[in-house]
Every structure is written in structure tokens, then in C-alpha cells.
Symmetry: C2
Subunit: 332 residues, 2 copies
């Protein structure tokens, strides 16, 4: 029987247990994957503590929303996929049939063909990071030449993906990190400028970089007091995409700066965009094409075997200077 990791309550990832479950038969509109690799995300840890915008419908539950694998069964009514084909899963709403398994059934709408020349580990490291970056940067408030985009906590996988996509669209990308040693990595991902928070005056550096104009967009999973630091350097009509909850201490938003700049604060989750079929198709097409053309390249930090899922979360949860995705390889 396929092995799978399950969580049994909201005690956090330390509560994960490796077990077995029978093969599931795909229903109408579904496909089954022999999972080769599945990726970790910060949101997994929040979810396992019930600190997420979604809760598990029931326990035990599998975890994770990014898997890559080979289709080994196809349910009725599915078109465009065939047995033996490598695919990966798009970020779909968490349920209790997550990716932490050797065999998973999923709605074919949330399955994408594997771009050529990518490994299974890389294929498990595409959709969460690139679609998170794609909608704000390319669709909702598109950036391009002349735009200045601030990416905070830029070494995060979504942060680095936004540097890649923003550079590709022609914007000037400004990445922040708490650690000066990350500068080279951030530049390699697409940062035109790197600011070390805590060491440098964030607003002063932004004003300097932008010739006083400020940034038109902040792509920020930190929030909290960091917004105060960059708010004086927001451009008119700037939009803050807040896509995580890294900072747990929240002073009031900097209203005076925001009133003056007509700045908008947008708590952003890609799920609201992926659920729209047309937006989903556009995001898939953009990212697939750029991966196939070699203009995007998933960055992999560490790969762990199936048995080491908890150790992988230990690594992910540390304050650290990770560069890319943490992925489980099943060996299948």
C-alpha cells in the first residue's frame, strides 16, 4: 500500500505520522498520481496549527499542495491527460487529501503538464511560488519597465519567484533580507537592488533607488511593523500585497502615509485567483511557457527522502538563509 504522512490534530507538524492507506480510485473528473516528489510550504505549518485561512474538513489529513508524479489512473470524463504522463499539482484549496503521500487522487482541473527538462523535484516546486507572484505582478496591477517593486523577505520561495517574474516583465526589483549574506542569491534571482532590513534605513534606500518616486508595489509576507518602515517610500497609488503573516505584532497601519499616497492594503491569497478558471488558465500558460523557455527556473534548497518529512519541516521552520524549495522525494 502507498505510504502517506497524516496529521491527526492541530498540534503542529511534530504530530505528523507516517502510515499507509489503500490506493484510491479516481472519480469523475479526477486523475491519480504516483507521487515522485512533494514540496513543503510555510502555509503547511500554519495550517497544522489551525492558523490559516482554511481548516481541515476532518482528521486524519494529509498535508501539502504541491506534488509531481506520473498519472497511473484516470477517472471518467477527463480529457487531455494520459497514463504515464508526468504532471504536477496546482495550488488547490487544502483538503484532507494533501500531497504528503506516494499516491494521490486530485481534480484534473488542478493538474498541469510537466514542462520539458524539469526534474520531478523541480516540477513539485513550480505552482505555489510562481502563481503567488504571477497574479499581483502580471494580472491585477501589472508591472513593467519603470515600475519599482519592493519584495520583502525576498529569500522566501514566493519572494524569489516574484523577483524572477518581475525582472522578466521589465520592472526594477528591490529585495529585502535580514541577512547580508543573501545578497548574491537575491541578485541571481532577479533583484536589481538588495536592502538589508535592520541594518539600513529602508525608506531612505528606496527613495534613493527610485529617485524619490517610491515603490509602486510592495509584495510583503511580513507586514506588522515593517510596513511603517517602508510606508514613507510608497509611490502614489501604491498597492501592498500582503500574502503571509510572518510578523505577529501589528501596530496600526501607517494611515497618514497611506491617505497621502492613496495606498491600498491587499491581503492576498492566490487561491482566490486560481479558483477562477480563466485566471487559472492564464497563470498556467504564462508560467509553463516561461519554464519551457528557460526564463524561469525553480530554485531547490534541500531534498529529503519520504521518511524525513518532519526533519524537513524542522529545517524549514528555522530562522535561516534558505535559498529555494524544500522538497520530499518519494523514490518512486
Amino acid at each position: 500500500m502507498p505510504r502517506a504522512w497524516h496529521i491527526h490534530d492541530y498540534s503542529g507538524y511534530q504530530g505528523l505520522r507516517l502510515g499507509e492507506e489503500p490506493f484510491e480510485k479516481p472519480g469523475a473528473g479526477e486523475v491519480r498520481l504516483r507521487v515522485e516528489a512533494f514540496a513543503l510550504n510555510w502555509g503547511d505549518m500554519d495550517l497544522m496549527k489551525d492558523n490559516y485561512s482554511f481548516s481541515f474538513p476532518r482528521f486524519p489529513a494529509r498535508v501539502g499542495i504541491e506534488a509531481a508524479g506520473i498519472i497511473d489512473a484516470i477517472g471518467p470524463g477527463v480529457e487531455g491527460f494520459s497514463i504515464g504522463e508526468r504532471v504536477s499539482t496546482l495550488p488547490y484549496f487544502y483538503d484532507n487529501r494533501g500531497a504528503s503521500t506516494e499516491s494521490m487522487v486530485i481534480d484534473a482541473r488542478y493538474v498541469a503538464k510537466a514542462p520539458p527538462n524539469l526534474s520531478a523535484v523541480e516540477c513539485a516546486s513550480i505552482w505555489m511560488q510562481y502563481l503567488t507572484a504571477y497574479y499581483p505582478l502580471a494580472e491585477v496591477t501589472p508591472v513593467g519597465p519603470g515600475s519599482h517593486v519592493l519584495v520583502t523577505a525576498a529569500t522566501s520561495t514566493a519572494g524569489a519567484a516574484s523577483l524572477e517574474i518581475g525582472r522578466l516583465l521589465g520592472a526594477t526589483m528591490i529585495g529585502t533580507t535580514r541577512f547580508a549574506e543573501n545578497e548574491e542569491y537575491l541578485r541571481s534571482m532577479g533583484a536589481d537592488h538588495v536592502i538589508v532590513t535592520g541594518k539600513e534605513d529602508l525608506a531612505a534606500r528606496i527613495r534613493d533607488i527610485t529617485g524619490g518616486k517610491g515603490v509602486t508595489m510592495a509584495f510583503d509576507p511580513v507586514g506588522g511593523g515593517l510596513i511603517d518602515q517602508y510606508a514613507p517610500a510608497l509611490a502614489k497609488n501604491a498597492r501592498i500585497y500582503f500574502y503571509g503573516t510572518l510578523d505577529t505584532v501589528w501596530p496600526p497601519l501607517p494611515f497618514v502615509d497611506m491617505f497621502q499616497k492613496n495606498a491600498v492594503f491587499h491581503p492576498y491569497s492566490l487561491f482566490n485567483y486560481v479558483e477562477d478558471p480563466l485566471m487559472c488558465e492564464r497563470g498556467k500558460a504564462f508560467v509553463y511557457d516561461m519554464l519551457a523557455a528557460g526564463r524561469l527556473k525553480p530554485s531547490i534548497d534541500r531534498v529529503y527522502p519520504m521518511e524525513k518529512y518532519i526533519e524537513a519541516f524542522d529545517y524549514l521552520s528555522q530562522p535561516r538563509t534558505a535559498h529555494g524549495k524544500v522538497v520530499i522525494e518519494t523514490g518512486l
Copy 2:
């Protein structure tokens, strides 16, 4: 010499002093008004305590941004206005040449012709409230039949104006107030539903009124903890226009609700829209036409004589159940 009220420091409206100042000659592009009436706004009080998005360039300074009067001098290069014509001032960026005077010079771009059949007091009570409501409701995220709009602190002048404009556009308007005795007034201004905050479960009432869909827009000068109360009843893609700072205690925004709803928090000031010449013209035309047609009607609460400006602020600053504008009539 014309009399004028001046503020000399940021000690608040109690520091206002009535004095005189010589007639000013209008410069290029400017007109001069013999002021018949000028209106009070909450923002005046915030500004006089340096708690506003703008500070005075210098002291002594006049206060106020809404005046109505008769043009008695015209500077070079002004077209479309003539001596003896009644006009009123649009909300322009506060400077130290405010409306609290018997004679004021102002950039003709921020002057609007008086709609027919309105008194001078009514003409001083148009632009702040109606333009504040106009841009969110009619331009940026237009509402219409099928829209449900939540207006908090709806007895405020901008709140009541938004009820009028929202009803005129065909939206279903929900007004909140802390005092049940305001219900009749709010219904007369355009509220289809009135919710008494503190007494009723705000989210439950909204869900009931909207058939579970929630409100697509909140027009809210309160913010703070009130957002927590209505956030569970926001519709998908809702926008919160936050245009005041009535609540001084700010818990973190309700991120889980906002992530789920893709809700956007927009600290909103009409100045950012009025400064755009095309948006300014559109706002002026809409409000003028609706006033001329009798479909909007400024609501006047109290009128004070020139000498009673401080008493008028005493009245405005009280927790109370005011219904409309507080205005100074100069007697000229």
C-alpha cells in the same frame, strides 16, 4: 477689513481667534469670494491638532475647506466666472488660506458654480460630503442594482451623502449608527436598512439582509475594532474604504476573513481624486447635475453666526445625534 478666524498653533480649535486681515488681491488663475457661509468638517479638528494627513505650511492659518460666496474680484487668466456670481469651493488641499473668513482668494480650479435653488448655507455644504462619497461609489468601484453597501457611522455628513448617492445609483444601502433614534433620519437619507451597532450583531444582520452574500463595499470612517464585527459578512472581493480615523484603538485587521474574501483595505482621501483634473470634472458634473435635478439635497443641522465658530466646533465635537452639516453664516 474682512474678519477672519485664525489658528496659531496645534492646540486644537479652542485656540481659534477672530481677527481682521486686509483684502487679498487674486493672482493669476485665482478668484476672490465675498464669503456668505463656510462649513465645519471633522477633519478641521484633526488638522488643528496636527493629527491629519496634511500640516499647515505656517501660522497663523485660517481653517476650513468649504465656503460659498459671491465672486468680487477675478485674477488674470480666469475664464468661465464673472463678478457677482455665487460659487462654492471644492475640497482643495488645506493650506493656511482656509475658508474661515469673510473674504478669500482661491485657485479657480477649485471653484464650482452654485447649483440653482440652493441657499448660500447649502452651497457651503456640498463638495466635501458628496465628492467623498462619489469617487468610491460611482467611479473607483461603481455600485448599482444588486450591490450591497455598508455605511458605518452613517449619520456623519459623508455617510449620509453616501446613502443618498448609493440609493441614486440603485444600490441597497445599509447604514449603521450607535443610536436607535437615528433610524428615521438615515432612512430619509437613503438607507434601506439601519443597524444599531453595539445592540445588534452586525455580521448576522448583514448576512440576513444580503441573503448570505455579504456587502461588496464598506464605507467606513470608524475602522478599528468595528472591522472585526463586519468582516465575516464581507462579500468576495469586497473593498473597505476607510476615510476617517474615528476609532483610535486598532487590533490587527481580520486577516483570515480578508484572505478568504480577497478583501482590500483602502485608506481613502478624496484629495487624491480631486487633484486629478478629469476626475475632478467628472465629480463636479455628477454632483452639480444631481443637485440641480433635486435628486441630492444637502442636509443642514445647525447654522451659527460668524462670532460663534468655537461654539460651533463645541457642538460638532460632542458625541451626539447630529443630522447634517454645521455651517457658519457670515451675514454678508
